[in-house]
Amino acid sequence: MKLTGAQILVQMIKAQGVDTIFGYPGGATIDIHDELDRHDDLRHILVRHEQGAVHMADAYARAKKATGVALVTSGPGATNTVTGIASAHSDSIPMVVFTGQVPTGLIGNDAFQEVDIVGITRPCTKHNYLVKNPAKLADTIQEAFHIARSGRPGPVLVDLPKDVIQAQIEFNLPEPTQMKSYKPNYKPNKKQMAKAISMLKQTRRPVIFAGGGVILSQGAEELTQIARLANIPVTGSLMGLGAFPGSDPNWLGMLGMHGTYRANMSIGHSDLIFAVGVRFDDRVTGNIEKFAPDAKIIQIDIDPTSIHKNIEVDCPIVGDCKTALKDIYTLMEKEDPKDFQTDRTAWLARIEEWKQTTPLKYDQNYEVIKPQYVVEKLYEITRGEALVTTEVGQNQMWTAQYYHFDKPNHFITSGGLGVMGFGLPAAIGAKAAQPDKLVVNVAGDGSIQMNIQELMTAIESKLDVKIVILNNRFLGMVRQWQEFFYDKAYASTNMENAPDFVKLAEAYGAKGFKCTQPACVTETLETGLNTPGTVIMEFVVEREESVYPMVPAGGAITDMLLV
């Protein structure tokens, strides 16, 4: 059967179990959009900026545990995706981005709206393709999905010249992808797992450190089982929040620069770190030389490059996190559980003391709203059930600290790259994946202005999201650094000139509420969350509030600035 390239593309996307794609048309992709229009079972969400499409696909992938898909035109459409792709790459999100390209005959001729997007995105994709031969289109698309979601997941870009999209090609569904050069290893090494078991028996001061890899591999349940069996406290990276229930007494809170006191102290004093799906990012370790001086380290990761990269590891286990955790748990079950819990009392008591002496805290006894209070109330009112996205900055850290995630895939944030403007499109993508869930974006007044145009996408597509703006009239996180390290010289961080967010919401056809008093925080949240449609809730908060605790960059994580 002969199909056009565009028809093949749509068939192949559907064959991957994807039901929604995020895109923006252009000359190079008209044929694809035209074809998409004929398929009711593949929803196309028209965005307002291509960066938004990619963040939406990113959050869709996380909330649906599927592969996100974005489709944009050549040239400027393609370059507009780069930030989103780089963010997904940092966070290992499975995603396929299709870009239109000028016809093959014009490639390399500086044609109108031509860019070498394969060249541009080479360092920030897991892999990318320029399809020059129509006969290879179907295979390439299938391979792209295979690569995006297997091994350590990541974004894959497929560049599609217009003539390839228009070509008439004999179409057969490709055979399952077989690659000579790419065979990710899922099976962990048995000897190393046995070694891990013996290390788990000898430890007196263990900590589990969970990262995004646990969530990506869907291993949260297995991780929780191990933690409970051996009574080990758990901390997490920003990407690991939700890998272990945030309401569990053994949850230490987040680790790192804005981690909790007890998480950082626990790691600093531990004798064994059981690290799963983490890459020991500098925001987590602080000064590497001073990181966990007494600890032996077990590290599970699907990507061998993550092991021994920043930190020397005593027991590396290369493999899928879920598989490895499951296997280790099975091994543990064969032993006497008491062997895994020897002498825990003193260690747990010490952690409890850290928790009591230096809890996360703020003081809401003033006339001005504390941003932490808004997040805490949001947690209470939504009973921790919402899918929460964030922008980047203080809003992101306060959400990580004060919204306690019990389940994986409920906290969606740009971790590795830290992209302002991520949260609103991410909320829309998450809503597309989980239409029955309440989706809330916690935003700063700076960040929300970076992709504010996506409000129209939310409204037009009926992907209702609730936006909580913590308006401190500053680029808060940068201002905080200026306060601590630049003598309060607030250069270029003043954001006093902002739009009227309530009117802005109304201009797009959303609802807007503004709250300036602590006394009306709860009511505003309740009203806003219960108002149908997309809603902005703006909270005018304390201007110079800082995120505490904090480890100054380059310091030891146990050297924290407390309130």
Binding site: R122, S181, D303, H308
Partner: protein, 163 residues
């Protein structure tokens, strides 16, 4: 840490862009490539890249893993610790003054190299060997007067019983 010379032989898919993925991996991470040579193998779908780099043991581990992570890399073979044959080819153009000609020819002889072009004022000499031999040759030719040099990157193959 101690800086060593490492020699990697990398099998890759013979596709456009593969070399730039590899070199991009190096430049993006601040690793330095000392020499690089690329050619087809008997399998038209596969190319072999021979690469020489100077770094410490920790970095070479990262390099090998990162290379392996590239989708188009089929195998990374570290020959450094093994028995291998290595060759580099250099073309060296030297001044061929009358009073120096005999000396040049003597050195060419000792190195089992070849004069491949003879002119009134210049010789072009072809010499091959491992990088040590090439360097030695060049340093002996220096006093004679080198006009221009072109060298290939190293290529290498493991020996039969090379562990």
């Amino acid at each position: 840490m101690k800086i060593n010379r490492y020699l990697l032989s990398i099998l890759v898919d013979n596709e456009p862009g593969v070399l730039s993925r590899i070199s991009g991996l190096f430049s993006g991470r601040g690793f330095n490539i000392d020499s690089l040579s690329v050619a087809k193998t008997t399998d038209p779908d596969v190319s072999v890249i021979t690469m020489v780099t100077y770094c410490d043991a920790h970095i070479i581990e990262q390099i090998k893993k990162q290379l392996h992570k590239l989708i188009n890399v089929i195998r990374v073979n570290d020959l450094t610790e093994k028995q291998y044959v290595e060759r580099q080819l250099a073309l060296v153009k030297v001044h061929a003054r009358t009073e120096k000609r005999a000396e040049i020819m003597r050195i060419v002889d000792i190195f089992r190299s070849k004069i491949v072009d003879v002119g009134h004022s210049h010789f072009v000499i072809e010499v091959s060997g491992d990088s040590g031999k090439i360097e030695a040759f060049i340093s002996l030719m220096q006093p004679v007067g080198i006009v221009e040099i072109a060298t290939t990157g190293a290529i290498a193959l493991g020996r039969e019983n090379g562990k």
